[in-house]
C-alpha cells in the first residue's frame, strides 16, 4: 500500500510538468498584451519598461525554466496586472474562500444526496422513489447558475431572507453552497440508489439475512458500505466539477474566491496568475484522485492487491 502511494505521488511530478508546459504555451498562443488594459495603445517606452520589469521579453525556454523553478520553490511570481500583489498573495487570500465554498457544496451534496439515494433504493418503485429520482434528475439537468439566479431572486430579493451577494456571514454562504451543491447532490442520489439496488440483490446480503441478521443492520453495515464505493469514485472528478462550477457561482454571488480571479486573469492576460492558479488546481485534482485511489483500497480490499 505504501509503495503504491509513494509511486502515485512521484507520478504527479511529470503530470504537473506537462500541465505547466501546456498552460504556458497556450497562454502565449492566445495573444493579447497583459500591459494593455483598454483601447488605449501602450507607448513604446512604457511597454518596454513593463516587459523588462516582468521578464516577459526573455526567450520562452528561459521563462519556462524560470517558472518551473518558481513552482518547485512555491514562488509563483508577481501578478502582471494587479500591481503590488503576488500570485502567492492572491492564492493565500482567495483560495481559502473557494475551498470553503467547495466544501460546503460537497457537504450539502453528501448530506442530502446519499440519504435521498438510500431512501429511493429502499422504497424501490414507490412514489417516494419516483419523487426522489424526479427531483434529482431535474437538479442534475439544471445548470447551477440558473439555480443560483432563481434562488437569489426568490430567496434573497423577494423574501429578503439572506443577502444577495458577498461572503462574510453564514447567511451569505447559504445560497451559493446550495446552488453549487445541487448538481453533485443529484448525482450522488442517483449513484447511491443504483448501487444500493444492485447490492441488495447480492448473495452475501441474502446470506446475512438468512443468518438472521436484522434488516437494518444488513443495510447499515454491508449494503451501504459497498454502495459507497462508486460514490467515492465519483467524488474525485466531482471535485474538479465543483471547482469549475464555482467560477460561475463566485461571479454570480460576488464571492472573492480564486474562480473570479481566474476568469479575470485570463481576460487580462495576467500570465503569472493564470499559471499559478492552473498549477494549484492541477495539484488539487491530482491529490483528490490520489486520495480516492487510497480510499478505494481501504473500502474494497480486492482492489488493493491488484494495484501494489
Amino acid at each position: 500500500m505504501l509503495k503504491f502511494i509513494v509511486r502515485r505521488i512521484f507520478w504527479t511530478i511529470p503530470v504537473l510538468l506537462v500541465v505547466i508546459f501546456l498552460t504556458f504555451m497556450m497562454m502565449r498562443q492566445i495573444g493579447g498584451n497583459p500591459f494593455r488594459h483598454s483601447e488605449r495603445a501602450v507607448p513604446e517606452a512604457v511597454q518596454r519598461n513593463l516587459e523588462a520589469k516582468f521578464h516577459v521579453n526573455d526567450p520562452w525556454w528561459k521563462q519556462y525554466a524560470y517558472y518551473v523553478k518558481g513552482v518547485f520553490t512555491l514562488d509563483f511570481g508577481p501578478s502582471l496586472v494587479l500591481r503590488g500583489q503576488t500570485v502567492n498573495d492572491i492564492i493565500k487570500e482567495h483560495f481559502p474562500k473557494s475551498i470553503e465554498l467547495g466544501l460546503y457544496a460537497f457537504l450539502f451534496a453528501i448530506v442530502v444526496g446519499v440519504p435521498l439515494g438510500v431512501i429511493a433504493a429502499l422504497k424501490h418503485n414507490t412514489a417516494v422513489d419516483y419523487g426522489a429520482m424526479f427531483f434529482s434528475n431535474v437538479f442534475h439537468a439544471i445548470p447551477s447558475f440558473l439555480v443560483a439566479t432563481l434562488m437569489i431572486y426568490w430567496i434573497a430579493l423577494k423574501l429578503g431572507a439572506v443577502p444577495t451577494s458577498g461572503w462574510a456571514t453564514w447567511e451569505h454562504k447559504l445560497l451559493p453552497s446550495i446552488a453549487l451543491g445541487f448538481a453533485p447532490m443529484a448525482l450522488f442520489a442517483r449513484l447511491v440508489r443504483g448501487t444500493m439496488l444492485e447490492t441488495l440483490q447480492q448473495d452475501y446480503v441474502r446470506t446475512a439475512r438468512a443468518k438472521g441478521l436484522r434488516y437494518r443492520r444488513v443495510v447499515g453495515l454491508h449494503v451501504l458500505r459497498n454502495s459507497l464505493i462508486p460514490v467515492i469514485t465519483a467524488a474525485g472528478p466531482l471535485l474538479g466539477f465543483i471547482i469549475t462550477g464555482s467560477f460561475v457561482i463566485e461571479l454570480i454571488f460576488n464571492i472573492p474566491g480564486i474562480g473570479q480571479y481566474y476568469v479575470t486573469a485570463v481576460n487580462a492576460r495576467d500570465y503569472s496568475v493564470v499559471m499559478g492558479l492552473t498549477v494549484l488546481l492541477s495539484v488539487l485534482i491530482i491529490f483528490a484522485n490520489l486520495v480516492v485511489d487510497i480510499l478505494y483500497g481501504i473500502l474494497d480490499p480486492r482492489t488493493r492487491d491488484a494495484r501494489t
Partner: protein, 554 residues
C-alpha cells in the same frame, strides 16, 4: 468562459422578464449638476453610504493605477494639486495658486500651508517632485508615465535603459523641481494649455516616500498607506471591499459630510443590480447590464451623466478607398434609432469625433453633413451609385462584449440597403486589440472601438488620427491633418486652438471630409443612486465623483 457568460445573460434575461413587474413609474429627474444643497430633505443623522466600486482596482498607487475605480478612490483619499470645476477648468486645490509663465513653458504651483500626511508630516513640493519622477522612472513601469511626456526630459527618462544609459542624470534633467517647500516648478517642452487640467489626473498625485521606502510594493495596503486627502483607506479586502472613512484631521474636514464610505466590488452587473435592489448598496457606478437598462431607466434611482467618450467604427481606407462610399456608409447609419432601441442610454448621435462636453465643443464640432442623427438613406444610395468601383463585400469586426453585436447587426442591415453585404466577425477583447494593429490588419474593412478621454482637451481625441498614432488602425494618413494637430500643440490661446481643432474635424468629417472614421455616438454613464444621495452625488465627464460633496438626506 465567454459561452458561459452568454448562457448567464440568457438565463438572466428570462428572470428579468419577471422582474419587469417590479419596475416603478417614471420619474424624469435630470441630473442637476454641481449642486450640493440639501433641498431633497434634511440631512440624515448617519452620513454613511455604500457604493459599488465595480472591479478590483489593479493598484492604489497613483503611479500605477490605471482604471476608473482606482482613480475614483485615489482622488478622494489624496489631495490633488488642482481639481476640475463643473466646466472642467482647473481650479486650485492643494495648490493655493498656480501661474504660467509668459512663454507658456513654465508652470509654477504654490502649495497651501495646511497640507498634512496622515502621519502628521507636512506635504511639500519635494513630495510632488519625488512622486512625479518616481512615476516616470523606467523601474516602476507605470502605465501612465506617458502623461508626463509634456514635461521636459520626462520621455527621455522614461525611455532610459538602466543597462546603457545614465538614468540618474536623466532623472535630474526632468523638468520638475521643488524650489522650496511650497513651490513646485514645472518646465514643459512646449506651451501646453491643457497641462493644468492634466494635473487633475490621479497620476499627478503625491505619494509618501516614507511609506514606500518602508513597505515597498505593499505600501498601498491599509495598514501601511499614508494619505493626505479627505478620506482615509480603512480596509481593502481584495476583490471584495474597499472602505473609506473621513479623516477628521484633513485641512477642510469641516466641509466633508460623509463619515464613511463602504465600498463593495461587485463586478457582475446583474449581481450588482440585485444588491442595489435588496438595499445592500446605495450607489451603483455604471456597468448596468444592457438587457436591464430599459427597465432600470424607469426607476426613480436611475441617473445619467454625459461622458467624454465616442463610440465609433474605424474604416480601413486602403480597403474602402472611395471617399464617396465611406460617406454613403456614414449617411446610412441610423444613429438615433440605434441609440433609442439598442444602446438606450440617451447617448447623443455623434456629429464629429470630439465629444460634447469637451471645452470648445461648439467651435470644434464640424456638424458633419455626412453624420445626420437619423441617417439619410436617399442621399446615401445616391452617393453609392456614384462610386466607380464600390467594395460590396466587407468584413466588420467587433469585440465580444455585450451590446456591440446588436449595433453591428443594425448597421449591417442599413448597409445592406446600399447593396453592401457585410460579414460580422467577433473577437475576444485582448485578441481583438492585437489583431487590429497598428499596423492595420488588411482583413479588416471596418472595426468598432471606443475612446474615453483622460484629460479635457480635444487633442486627446483628435491625435488618434495622425499618421503615426498608436491607436490609428485605419491606414488613414493626411499630412494637412497632422500639421494642424502639431500646430494645436503649441497654440496657447484657447479660442485659436479650438479653431484649429475645428479645421482638423473638418478634414475628417466636413463637406469634403475624408471619413476615415464613422463616429456613432457620444457615450453617457448610467448609474443607480438611492434617492437619499441622488441630489448630491455627481459624476463628472471623466467619470469621477467628489465624495466630499455628497450629503445623505433623510
Amino acid at each position: 468562459m465567454r459561452t458561459k457568460s452568454i448562457w448567464l445573460w440568457l438565463a438572466l434575461l428570462m428572470s428579468s422578464v419577471a422582474l419587469v413587474a417590479a419596475g416603478c413609474g417614471g420619474d424624469d429627474e435630470e441630473g442637476t449638476s454641481g449642486t450640493t444643497t440639501t433641498e431633497g430633505g434634511a440631512e440624515a443623522a448617519e452620513q454613511v453610504i455604500t457604493v459599488n466600486w465595480g472591479t478590483e482596482p489593479p493598484s492604489l498607487d497613483p503611479g500605477l493605477a490605471s482604471d476608473v475605480t482606482s482613480a475614483n478612490i485615489l482622488l478622494n483619499i489624496m489631495d490633488p494639486l488642482v481639481k476640475l470645476d463643473e466646466d472642467l477648468n482647473a481650479v486650485p486645490n492643494a495648490a493655493e495658486s498656480f501661474e504660467t509663465s509668459e512663454d507658456g513653458k513654465t508652470v509654477t504651483f504654490t502649495l497651501r500651508d495646511d497640507l498634512k500626511w496622515t502621519n502628521g508630516d507636512p506635504v511639500t513640493a519635494e513630495d510632488f517632485e519625488y512622486s512625479w519622477k518616481r512615476t516616470v522612472s523606467p523601474e516602476l513601469g507605470a502605465d501612465y508615465a506617458y502623461q508626463f511626456y509634456g514635461i521636459v526630459g520626462a520621455q527621455d527618462y522614461n525611455s532610459c535603459d538602466p543597462k546603457k544609459d545614465d538614468c540618474a542624470a536623466l532623472r535630474d534633467k526632468m523638468g520638475v523641481n521643488a524650489v522650496d517647500d511650497k513651490t513646485l516648478e514645472v518646465k514643459l517642452t512646449t506651451p501646453q494649455p491643457w497641462f493644468l487640467q492634466q494635473v487633475a489626473h490621479h497620476s499627478f498625485l503625491a505619494v509618501n516616500k516614507k511609506a514606500i521606502d518602508q513597505f515597498g510594493d505593499k505600501w498601498t495596503e491599509p495598514a501601511n498607506i499614508i494619505t493626505n486627502g479627505p478620506f482615509k483607506l480603512e480596509s481593502w479586502q481584495h476583490n471584495s471591499r474597499i472602505d473609506l472613512v473621513k479623516d477628521p484631521n484633513w485641512r477642510d474636514a469641516g466641509s466633508v459630510k460623509l463619515t464613511r464610505v463602504n465600498g463593495r466590488m461587485i463586478s457582475d452587473g446583474i449581481t450588482a443590480v440585485q444588491a442595489f435592489e435588496a438595499g445592500e448598496v446605495d450607489v451603483l457606478y455604471q456597468g448596468l447590464p444592457p438587457d436591464e437598462i430599459s427597465r432600470l431607466k424607469e426607476t426613480p434611482e436611475y441617473e445619467q451623466y454625459p461622458a467624454l467618450g465616442t463610440y465609433y467604427y474605424g474604416v480601413n481606407v486602403k480597403n474602402i478607398t472611395d471617399v464617396k462610399q465611406r460617406r454613403a456608409m456614414a449617411l446610412a447609419i441610423p444613429r438615433q434609432s440605434i441609440i433609442d432601441n439598442i444602446a438606450q442610454q440617451d447617448q447623443l448621435p455623434a456629429t464629429g469625433f470630439t465629444p460634447k462636453g469637451m471645452p470648445g465643443f461648439d467651435a470644434i464640432n464640424p456638424d458633419s453633413p455626412w453624420l445626420p442623427g437619423e441617417g439619410d438613406m436617399e442621399q446615401a444610395k445616391q452617393l453609392m451609385s456614384e462610386v466607380a468601383s464600390p467594395k460590396k463585400n466587407i468584413t466588420l469586426y467587433i469585440n465580444d462584449s455585450p451590446g456591440h453585436r446588436e449595433i453591428a447587426v443594425a448597421v449591417q442591415a442599413a448597409w445592406k440597403e446600399l447593396g453592401i453585404s457585410s460579414t460580422i466577425k467577433q473577437q475576444e477583447f485582448q485578441q481583438y486589440l492585437e489583431f487590429l494593429g497598428p499596423p492595420p490588419n488588411k482583413d479588416v474593412d471596418i472595426y468598432r472601438l471606443g475612446w474615453i478621454g483622460d484629460f479635457v482637451d480635444a487633442i486627446n481625441f483628435l491625435e488618434l488620427w495622425t499618421c503615426d498614432s498608436g491607436n490609428n488602425s485605419t491606414n488613414y494618413c493626411n499630412e494637412d491633418f497632422d500639421a494642424l494637430i502639431e500646430k494645436a500643440r503649441s497654440t496657447e490661446d484657447n479660442d485659436a486652438r479650438y479653431d484649429i481643432y475645428g479645421q482638423a474635424e473638418d478634414i475628417l468629417f466636413g463637406e469634403n471630409g475624408d471619413m476615415p472614421v464613422l463616429p456613432i455616438y457620444f457615450y453617457t454613464y448610467g448609474d443607480l443612486e438611492r434617492e437619499s444621495v441622488k441630489e448630491s452625488f455627481e459624476v463628472n465627464l471623466l467619470n469621477q465623483t467628489d465624495l466630499t460633496k455628497v450629503v445623505v438626506t433623510e
